[in-house]
Symmetry: C2
Subunit: 491 residues, 2 copies
């Protein structure tokens, strides 16, 4: 296994695809548009899941599970939702195969046609609100704070591993509230949970903002989002949290009796992040040698590689390695000791570099003599020798340092790639490339937004929540604007 990745400068997109496959994260499957998430890649996703799930539970949510299939008619109940979601989707029309009467395999049994087609869920608002109707009668039944970890399918013509696949994994929170304020608070709380997680655990800085009307979720009154900037100057939406108002409650007739005895429609939110986060992780930190992982998400944070000739040396090195492992594990560090005799140390070095293991410890015969080990950092590729007795105190600190350093590096990159544009000429010139985040004034209309997109391919990533209020003129129409919004080319 050689690393031999295409360099990022040469072809960023090719680099990405090669890295995903060679680092054992994922691969295309025999099913068009569907990926296989390989064990190493899935272990990272499991870390993401475990940490998010804990945060969801700490904020009062419970998990549940709703059906994969949604009757076609459900989608028609919320008018804007059907346009946004039900069109490009997988449709189940039959429930049986039969032996081909002409021989050779199996064919669809024409007599087993469903009366109503079933859609493989692209998102679950409709089936969930159809269920909530049963759960909610009174204010006593509220709030409902439920999350679901699930697979969803949106038929995509052009797919890319993790970034855009027909089937992907995600979580979708669906909550029901007695008041508008409580629902808005929930949508904002969950945006905060996402932002904190992505920044603190994934080491990816994000902008928090609102989507423009044109970019809003189909059926939402307001979409909150977090936006990250990739190394190639393109933006990636890392998570969304929607205030749905009473749209779904009205579509599915979900009312509750208030404390005062009146009947009211329920207020709703939904919020989700997906395996797309894996794409954001890769494109924020990795380099031409392969994946770079923040220690908080690494399946193992430290790998120990023995360099030896013969059984006797291996035995002596193993003793040191096992001792170090025990010490590090007692400090909560996850360690792998790779003593396989089927692969050479050089192969292993390459492999762990490609897979982004944050710290590599090598132990050779000279280290035995000197009581030292070689400690290599994956993020900046530096090496140092360390006394064996220092490892258990130094490595946890080093892992913290790597975590912080990755975040700061990404933050710096974002600062360097955040620009302002005050005129259309400036804006258009910037958008000939992938300039990063461009802060510019916009007149607030979807028609202007669409025209800007047509001409430059740039979209409004968000209206920043912490944006400075300043008077300005729309770069395109010259109409008045009270705040800059963030434009970018996006994944």
């Amino acid at each position: 296994m050689g690393k031999h990745l295409t360099s990022r400068e040469q072809d960023y997109s090719k680099w990405y695809n090669e890295l995903v496959v060679k680092a054992d994260l994922a691969q295309n499957s025999g099913v068009r548009g569907s990926m296989v998430i390989k064990p190493y890649g899935f272990a990272i996703w499991e870390s993401i899941q475990a940490d998010l799930d804990r945060r969801f539970k700490e904020t009062g949510h419970m998990n549940a599970y709703f059906p994969l299939f949604i009757p076609k008619s459900y989608f028609s109940k919320e008018a804007s939702h059907v346009d946004g979601f039900a069109k490009e989707c997988a449709v189940v029309t039959h429930y049986r195969l039969m032996d081909d009467p002409n021989g050779g395999g199996v064919v669809v049994d024409p007599s087993a046609k469903l009366e109503e087609e079933l859609i493989v869920r692209p998102t679950s608002e409709t089936i969930i609100w159809d269920t909530y109707k049963d759960w909610i009668q009174s204010y006593r039944d509220l709030p409902i704070l439920v999350n679901q970890w699930a697979n969803v399918v949106r038929w995509e013509m052009r797919t890319r591993l993790f970034l855009r696949t027909a089937e992907f994994l995600w979580q979708e929170g669906h909550t029901a509230h007695a008041t508008k304020k409580e629902a808005i608070d929930e949508a904002e709380t969950m945006l905060d949970v996402y932002a904190t997680f992505v920044e603190e655990v994934m080491a990816i800085p994000v902008l928090r903002g609102l989507k423009s009307e044109g970019e809003r979720f189909a059926g939402a009154l307001e979409t909150y989002c977090i936006e990250a900037l990739m190394q190639d100057g393109k933006a990636l939406q890392a998570g969304t949290s929607h205030f749905l108002g009473q749209n779904f409650a009205k579509a599915f007739d979900v009312k509750f009796q208030t404390k005062e005895g009146t009947q009211e429609y329920v207020w709703a939110t939904s919020w989700g992040v997906s395996t797309r986060l894996m794409g954001a992780l890769i494109m924020t930190h990795s380099d031409d040698n392969g994946l770079v992982l923040p220690p908080k998400l690494a399946p193992y944070q430290v790998v120990i590689v023995p360099i030896y000739k013969g059984e006797q040396q291996l035995e002596a090195i193993s003793k040191v390695a096992e001792d170090l492992m025990e010490q590090l594990r007692s400090k909560g560090v996850s360690v792998k000791f790779d003593n396989r005799d089927t692969h050479k140390p050089g192969w292993k070095f390459n492999q762990y570099e490609l897979q982004g293991v944050p710290i590599r410890i090598a132990i050779g015969p000279k280290d035995l003599e000197k009581g030292s080990v070689e400690v290599a950092r994956r993020d900046n590729l530096t090496k140092q020798f360390m006394k064996q007795e220092e490892v258990s105190s130094a490595v946890p600190l080093l892992l913290d340092e790597i975590q912080v350093s990755l975040f700061n590096k990404a933050l710096e990159f974002r600062a360097e790639n955040s620009k302002t544009a005050d005129t259309w000429e400036e804006f258009e010139a910037l958008m000939k490339g992938n300039p990063g985040f461009v802060y510019a004034h916009w007149d607030g209309t979807t028609s202007t937004e669409n025209k800007i997109k047509e001409r430059t391919k740039a979209t409004i990533r968000c209206i920043p929540l912490d944006g400075v209020k300043e008077e300005g003129k729309c770069i395109f129409t010259g109409n008045p604007s009270s705040q800059r919004v963030v434009f970018a080319k996006a994944y």
Copy 2:
């Protein structure tokens, strides 16, 4: 919310359905045959998942994720597999909907027909072995020890919550090995993992055995299983582990280079348990008052209910409750303090009894005076008063006692409902009811097995792994037999 369940004696099946719904475990959805797993039920499933997942990892397995959709042609590659699985299934034929040209909703776009239909996975051997072909070249790539947590779909005409639903949740392990022996060892190891988990955590005693040829998994050379006995005298298959030989390796042409340089087909296993385990849990321990949960799986092991009039009493009780909670939590006990003022204590008592919370602690004004609390066990419905300072040491022991007691009670029930039959008359008479496990001699042929099934509806649950070797005559044909097998009516 009243409990008012139909009694088990009156109608076991009705009791089961009512319990599942009223204890907030699951409910039917608007999609025929698909269930909604409600938050409380899902929390139990999460406990099952977490414990099993830890055991899988401790035995060297990693999780991965494979596509939901499988091209139809894949199923035809393993001859017996297609007959066993690909017939009753959900078939995706189209990938787009369009606005109905006649107005009113959406219809399938006839131009978006797939060239090859996709089957929603009923089990994943085919797509996984199609992938393993890429992963395996050399003995260095073996073994592959992979598990997947996933949803699967098998079209069922008659469905029951948890026991038989069109969509269900499960895990499926799929492993690849260099030798036959290693694969058989793996299949046996995983049966052992299942049996230990089901007995120690779910408190359900199981028989370990082999399936007869007629009951084997489609594509397996040998199917190992664990079988449990439900309260109504019917058996339930709680988990299976299959030795697949080289069948799938041959079907998908997966070969490896041995150490000696020869090319050989890879050996395989697969193994799975599903949300059916929830059905086994319910039907082993629960009673006419509702669910009974083993402490090791209970979402909360202890619930504290305050009995009070007015704010002042509640405050004083809350102080005691919070103190107890802290003490219990420090001992690893999960506790919920239900201080909602929207529901009365009697309602709460009912609710937690219905939901099977192992221990209920009630604290009233008299307890404040006496420094006591009332501790009620869900399993045997006994109550005792306890000094507040004894709670933190007594409750963990009580939870252990409940766990053991539930297992022993189930074991005793199974002993009472395990019988032998030496003649056809005896056997037929027993099988007029649901007699539990019936140990009888069988001549080893599928044709006899089928005839017995036709006449009595009894199936061979397993050939017990620890069965005594004894000479005997088949109850049906009189032909010689060397070991009794276990017959039962089954879910």
